[in-house]
């Protein structure tokens, strides 16, 4: 009975698909000879294909719902792997070694791709503070990235500021912009907040695009110097390796700081803010402070990433800071698992590296991207690696009760 129902459903879906794709797949107009070619055989292929696909899909869904009843949801095999010190310690060492020898084994091109991916790791971890921890949906994160990039480019152009001076300055300027956007949106949440941040990013981009005297408009700023290495001039290859290690170090620093933040008082305040704003206030948490620090700290990392981006590409223009970029970073956070550091790193590497290595499919990149996101949200809404918080054990011992802290 159920089987027949599924067949019926798949048949309906297949017919619907045939109807939808009819104009593209069947009718072909030859404008040179002014004739219409009817490719009827395509109908059969599409029909069979969509029928098979939808049928498999439904079986898959059924299987998923039946297994869900038995297996406890939440922890993935990856999560369990992370909890096993005997497994993850050697894995960490291998990853570390691989990261160390990577630039000496692979080509210049590969190093550049990896550097870009590492910039996105930083961006993802930064946005993770806002979206993952504090639950502030920010669709305009790229604005802070742009602030960082332009602060290095402009400060260097006008005042000859070097990379190392610009890095903290860019981070600080981005943090100030974070607080600036934070104030007006203090009372907003959810979708309203998303819209305001989206508008904020568009304002920044439009200002950069149109205020020629300030930002050189759409033509952008070129000849931005790469970071210096103790005053020595580096060849492009050496510089790429240098950038790579620089980013590895900065990423490690980011991971360390965000890990500490996550388990600090302010980190707990953010999580409370995300879970229930009213209850968070009733606990005595300063809502204003929690929100503003989340915005400022999130923006700080975008600012640093922006400075590095400008130094890496040596040329920036407003086209690098479109909404698509914000959406990409947000996808990294959602795909990786809100609030999870390891998940965000994996997602950033996957989303940036895969399109590069799948050059063959580059035309379908956004389609695959969208499909992957939809699949993830259906089958793993908590992301690749769900957030694991430190848990506090309450043990009853013989003479007294103590609270032992451990990681679960």
């Amino acid at each position: 009975m159920k089987f027949a129902e599924e067949l019926k459903k798949s048949f309906f879906i297949a017919s619907w698909f045939i109807l939808l794709t009819f104009p593209i797949m069947v009718i072909q107009v030859n404008t040179i000879e002014n004739i219409v070619i009817w490719r009827w055989h395509n109908i059969i292929l599409i029909g069979l294909g969509s029928f098979a696909f939808s049928f498999c899909w439904q079986i898959f869904l059924n299987k998923k719902s039946s297994t869900k009843l038995i297996a406890p949801a939440g922890l993935s095999p990856l999560n369990r792997l992370m909890n096993e010190p005997r497994l993850y310690r050697p894995a960490l060492i291998i990853i570390g070694l691989a990261a160390l020898i990577f630039p000496f084994v692979f080509s210049h091109y590969q190093i550049n791709i990896m550097t870009t991916a590492l910039i996105y790791v930083m961006l993802g971890l930064g946005l993770n503070i806002e979206v993952g921890l504090a639950g502030l949906l920010d669709l305009g994160y790229v604005a802070f990235y742009a602030v960082g990039a332009y602060s290095y480019a402009l400060l260097n152009y006008h005042f000859g500021l070097g990379f190392w001076t610009a890095l903290p300055v860019g981070a600080l300027l981005a943090a100030i912009f974070g607080i600036l956007i934070g104030f007006p949106v203090l009372r907003l949440r959810g979708d309203y907040l998303a819209i305001v941040t989206l508008a904020f990013a568009e304002i920044i981009r439009l200002v950069l695009e149109n205020w020629n005297a300030f930002s050189f408009g759409p033509s952008g700023i070129s000849n931005i110097p790469r970071p210096g290495f103790f005053g020595r001039n580096l060849t492009p290859e050496q510089s790429a390796i240098y950038m790579y290690f620089l980013l590895i170090l900065l990423c490690l620093l980011t991971i360390f700081i965000i890990h500490r933040l996550q388990h600090s008082r302010i980190g707990r305040a953010w999580v409370a803010l995300r879970e229930d704003e009213l209850a968070c206030q009733a606990m005595g948490i300063d809502k204003t402070k929690a929100k503003l620090t989340a915005f400022a700290l999130g923006a700080t990392w975008a600012g640093m990433a922006g400075v590095i981006f400008a130094a890496k590409t040596t040329f920036i223009n407003p086209a690098s800071f479109t909404f698509l970029e914000s959406a990409m970073i947000l996808s990294i956070v959602v795909l990786g698992g809100m609030g999870s550091i390891a998940g965000v790193i994996i997602a950033a590497l996957a989303l940036i590296l895969l399109p590069e290595y799948l050059r063959v499919f580059s035309d379908y990149r956004m389609i695959l991207f969208g499909a992957a996101l939809i699949m993830m949200m259906i089958f793993r809404p908590q992301g690749i690696l769900a957030d694991m918080r430190k848990k506090y054990e309450f043990h009853k011992t013989e003479d007294s009760r103590t609270i032992k802290r451990d990681v679960l």
């Binding site: 707990r268 879970e275 209850a279 009733a282 506090y392 609270i403």
Partner: protein, 235 residues
């Protein structure tokens, strides 16, 4: 301990509190009863600072707090159990309790208080690693009260603790409130729709209607008052 003088609170143009005056003395249980939309929750929200009062004075321990931020009010010693419990659904019972002690630095005393609430509600100890959102309504209410106690407040504000609970559980919760009052000498300001239960528990009571206090007095006297009987007790 707590004194409200002619407090008015507005939501936009709608005046929700039209001049509320009341007092709560130390060690008392005072209840505020009234129908839906009378302004009971708004009164609590104005005290805890989450909704700012538009005019009037709120005095807590000789200090005016009507313009103070909610976090400073918690620090001053007023803890609120919000309407509908509002526990953190993704956090475990322990983490919820720890959030209650967010402003406290003394970890040893915090631990003692955690033991106290576990003695009060042993079921919470059993469920300490369970996510708050998976608890039953009664357990969530116990957790919400315990979480507020973890701040070691001087004044505990309770907003409709009987909301959505069975009569049996309501009884149990109210017994615990009484116990907290007698054992810890905790001053409690209780907002309830369940007028009979609230007045039986309290020392004094206020009756609210359309944003104003219309009646006040000893709880025992209110219980026998003919107007209260007719309007709220259904006798």
């Amino acid at each position: 301990m707590l004194k409200l003088i002619d407090v008015q609170t507005c939501y936009g143009n709608i005046r929700s509190l039209k001049g509320v005056s009341l007092t709560v003395a130390e060690g008392e249980i005072v209840s505020l009863i009234g129908a839906n939309g009378a302004g009971k929750t708004t009164t609590l929200m104005s005290i805890s600072g989450i909704v700012a009062a538009s005019s009037g004075q709120i005095i807590f321990n000789q200090q005016r707090i009507e313009r103070t931020d909610p976090d400073k009010i918690v620090a001053a010693g007023i803890s609120q159990v919000p309407e509908g419990r509002r526990i953190f659904p993704g956090m475990s019972v322990l983490e919820n309790l720890e959030m209650g002690a967010f402003l406290r630095e003394d970890s040893r005393k915090t631990r003692e208080d955690m033991e106290y609430v576990f003695d009060l509600f042993p079921i919470l100890n059993k469920r300490r690693h369970q996510a708050g959102g998976t608890l039953s309504g009664g357990e969530q209410q116990m957790l919400a009260i315990s979480r507020a106690l973890m701040a070691r407040p001087k004044l505990l504000l309770l907003d409709e603790p009987s909301l959505g609970l069975s009569p049996l559980l309501t009884n149990q919760i109210f017994e615990m409130i009484k116990k907290i009052n007698t054992e810890q000498h905790m001053t409690i300001f209780l907002v309830e729709q369940n007028a009979y239960m609230a007045l039986k528990l309290s020392h004094r009571g206020y009756v609210m209607e359309n944003g104003s206090i219309i009646l006040e007095g000893k709880a025992a006297a209110l219980l026998t008052d003919s107007n209260v009987k007719k309007a709220y007790l259904g006798i």
